[in-house]
């Protein structure tokens, strides 16, 4: 890696029913454009552990970095983003709790169809096969089946936990609202984007915008990275 890297690193934080490879459609382009990229892999066992994994992963790339969170990953970047190495936040169809809020308390206010297609077993929350239509319904059927086959079930208590830190209050934020989202309600995404003062883009997409609209998501990440570069140049 060049010692005088000018582009911020991009660090991805996945949601539930996914892992770091859900960003695979974005990673090659960002690398080709000169970013160091790493997708955090965390266990969805506890939010504190997932935030800790994100901070460990931040140390594997050069600073500064942009944190990009999908879905529950929005809660992770909200907490981990207070780290000094982070200069911007990108939320993809994501939650963004304030102090005193949990992911569950946010979701409860805006119910969505997906949660009629889950099963809690062995302490984990599993997506039933028919639920993938409410998670990734705009992908080709074959791709939807892969999404289901590789879904990573979180601990049943994960959404009731809260880790300290509300990075969107101090870091510039971007938000992608998925207007056809049946997992996190689009109106919740709009409310959160407005509350955090995010630069917001609406995508006609299911919950998995990074899979169904990778170009749009890339554009938003590029804008966030460019803004961070600009800020560093004038600092």
């Amino acid at each position: 890696m060049k010692p005088t890297q000018t582009k911020p690193s991009i660090v991805f934080c996945h949601g539930i029913w996914a892992d770091g490879s859900c960003f695979n459609k974005l990673i090659p382009t960002l690398q080709a454009e000169g970013h160091q990229v790493i997708a955090v892999q965390y266990g969805l066992d506890s939010q504190a552990a997932d935030v800790a994994a994100t901070k460990r992963t931040l140390a594997r790339v050069s600073s500064p970095a942009i944190l990009v969170g999908h879905s529950y990953g929005g809660a992770v970047i909200t907490a981990a983003g207070t780290d000094d190495r982070v200069v911007g936040l990108v939320y993809i169809a994501a939650v963004a709790p304030d102090a005193g809020e949990t992911v569950q308390s946010q979701l409860d206010k805006y119910p969505t169809p997906i949660f009629g297609h889950i099963e809690v077993a062995d302490g984990r929350v599993w997506m039933l096969p028919e639920g993938v239509k409410d998670f990734a319904g705009d992908l080709p059927e074959q791709e939807q089946k892969v999404v289901w086959a590789t879904h990573f079930a979180p601990d049943a208590d994960l959404f009731n936990q809260k880790v300290e830190g509300t990075a969107w209050k101090s870091k510039p934020s971007w938000s992608i609202v998925a207007t056809e989202d049946r997992t996190v309600h689009p109106d919740l995404e709009r409310f959160l984007a407005k509350r955090m003062g995010a630069t917001t883009v609406e995508a006609k997409s299911s919950h998995v915008a990074m899979l169904s609209q990778p170009q749009l998501v890339l554009d938003v990440i590029r804008k966030a990275a460019k803004a961070a570069q600009g800020a560093a140049a004038t600092a």
């Binding site: 892992d19 770091g20 490879s21 960003f23 695979n24 990673i27 690398q31 990229v37 790493i38 997708a39 892999q41 460990r56």
Partner: protein
């Protein structure tokens, strides 16, 4: 792939298995002959010890990515065999 790796716990590799399933269940094994993560000779030894139905592919450690067809074929063989033995 390097970008979405899962770091392993340092404990994972020192933990001992007490009842290896290959002693009691039918076993298939794909040896990756160009493997630089697990030594191919070690793979051959384990395949033989498990009396596995073994195929060799000229692949790196991630044989399922570089040789997905061969890997799927081996899994399909295992699946077909377990149905016909019932």
């Amino acid at each position: 792939m390097a970008e979405s790796q899962v770091p392993i716990s340092t404990d994972s590799f020192t933990h001992k298995v007490t009842t290896p399933a290959w002693k009691t269940k039918p076993t298939w094994y794909m040896v990756a002959t160009a493997d630089r993560s697990i030594n191919p000779d070690q793979e051959r030894m384990m395949a033989k010890r498990a009396h596995a139905k073994t195929v060799e592919v000229n692949a790196s450690h991630v044989a399922y990515m570089s040789h997905p067809k061969e890997t799927a074929k081996l899994i399909e063989e295992a699946a077909a065999s377990s149905i016909s033995s019932k």
